[in-house]
């Protein structure tokens, strides 16, 4: 956004172990609380981070089995927006080729998964996905 500065930024590197997404969500909660985001918005941020981490764990196929996160508090003097980046060094995918999941189709399909991106887009103000042979980066943000 125009004129926004990074007021503070926290980086976190997590191994793709059991429930690492919970550790990531706790970090997101702490940063969101520090900028006095409302409880409902914090909860939405927390869930979006869980989904972004699960995407990396489930689909990245990365050799280093690591998720790289950063939490940036942005604003013009006062905290206005939280921007979260979730990155893996996996095989990547073609975001444009993803088919949006629909409940009526999922109910009769063997494969019921594939909701992560839809949930992130529904809970955050903005979600951008960059993916290539060097991995996938999800950048998502929410205003305070």
């Amino acid at each position: 956004m125009d004129g926004e500065a990074v007021l503070r930024e926290i980086s976190l590197t997590l191994p793709m172990g059991p429930e690492m997404e919970i550790a990531a969500s706790r970090a997101a909660t702490a940063v969101a609380e520090s900028m006095r985001m409302s409880a409902d918005k914090i909860d939405e941020v927390r869930m979006a981070v869980v989904e972004a981490c699960i995407n990396a764990i489930e689909h990245s196929g990365s050799d280093d089995q690591t998720v790289y996160l950063s939490f940036a508090v942005l604003g013009k003097g006062e905290p206005e927006r939280l921007e979260i980046t979730v990155k893996d060094k996996g095989v990547g995918f073609a975001p444009d080729e993803l088919v949006e999941p629909k409940i009526e189709e999922k109910l009769t399909s063997v494969r019921k998964r594939g909701w992560g991106l839809k949930i992130m887009r529904g809970l955050m103000d903005d979600v951008e996905v960059r993916s290539g042979s060097d991995g996938t980066t999800i950048v998502m943000s929410k205003a305070r």
Binding site: E19, I22, R46, V50, E51, K106, L107
Partner: protein
């Protein structure tokens, strides 16, 4: 760090309520499905999932809840949810679950709706 899901089942006349406490991930979803299918095998056709003790879910866990919805549709049963956090309720609406399972603010309203269905 582990947030293991705990379940409690309350069998009532023609209706069973499953109370969850903790994280609904893949293991949690499987636990709920196991309990739900056992209740179906016992003859229950109306199930209520009371998520008052669950503050976080993930899409894998919810995918397993969709399997339960599919099962209930197959047997002409009814599944409802109650006492969701605002974010979990919003997520269920984003995914469209509300089209196939009732979502209620409190247990009393959910029980009444299931009895009337």
């Amino acid at each position: 760090m582990t947030e293991t899901l705990k379940l409690k089942v309350d069998r009532r006349d023609g209706l069973a309520v499953v109370y969850t406490e903790g994280y609904i991930n893949n293991q949690g979803g499987e636990q709920i499905a196991k309990a739900a299918y056992e209740l179906v095998d016992e003859g229950y056709r109306r199930l209520l999932l009371n998520l008052s003790g669950t503050k976080i879910v993930n899409s894998i866990g919810i995918s397993i809840l969709i399997e339960i919805i599919e099962k209930m549709i197959e047997i002409d049963g009814r599944l409802a949810f109650c006492c969701l956090t605002p974010t979990i309720e919003k997520t269920f609406h984003i995914m469209g679950l509300a089209q196939y399972a009732g979502i209620h603010g409190d247990e009393g309203a959910a029980v009444e709706a299931l009895k009337a269905a």
